[in-house]
Amino acid sequence: MTISGSKHSQFVGIDLDASFKGIAGDYGVWFNEISVTEFVNLRGDSTHSGFLTGVQRVTGVELPVIPNTVVRSGGLSCHWLGPDEWLMTVKKPEVSIMQDLEDSLSGLHIAVTDLTGGQSLFGVGGRQSRDVLSAACTLDLHADAFAQGSCAQTILAHSNVLITPAFQSSGDCVFEVLVRRSYADHLIRWLMDAAHEDGFEFRLDDNSGLD
């Protein structure tokens, strides 16, 4: 099966039946596409209390000031990108923070930039997911080094990505991989190739971002 007709999915044109068929249903890796309704890049001075409270007023979260950490609340995530730079992702269609942030921080030396539509977000899960990603990523992805609450910008298969581990209640880890939209097709095809020997499947059922 290939997906067609959707304007939004990065899975368009990819042969979703290409999954390696080992033991039925016994896949080492799975991929899904996580729909994000808003990406906002935020820059400002984290030592300025008005800035921090202004952000909190809108998002309800405290900006992470420890490098390479993420704060999540409801459908909103706030990733540390640099000492004065953060990425907000919103996964609720009914919520938009862009304008509210601008209003709340007006008068401060800040930049709020709408990146929606320029990024793609994938989930990579399954027992072999760490090994598959490690094949083309120099970051230590082990849970001891890359724990819940961490995130990191790095290179995966020659593409700049932001990787965030999301641990499930079962203890399994799903790696959320954020990539620029124009690199997404390359990355998916690379992932399919890298995961081929372990077997993989596409999970389209939940939160797949299809319209």
Binding site: P67, L81, G82, E85, T138, L139, Q153, T154, N160
Partner: protein
Amino acid sequence: MLSIDCPWCGSRDQSEFSYGGEAHIVRPKEPEKLSDEDWGDYLFNRKNTKGRFEEQWCHTAGCRRWFNAVRDSQSYKIEAVYKIGEQSPDGIPE
């Protein structure tokens, strides 16, 4: 391969970084008053030190911040990293 300590992100692989050459080159405050020799010296001449050397790196694929490192250009050992605007461990101001 180098493993470089970004002052913010910690130890990362060299492939995440870009190189910025000699650190602590001071841009002339009034370039129009420089002689051609002084301007050429500022623009092109470099220390190119063999041994302990202050140089600039940018964590391009990470936090995208420039910082300075003291690296031995012969053994490639990175002896220190420090943020832009900080004094070098050898006492070179900013």
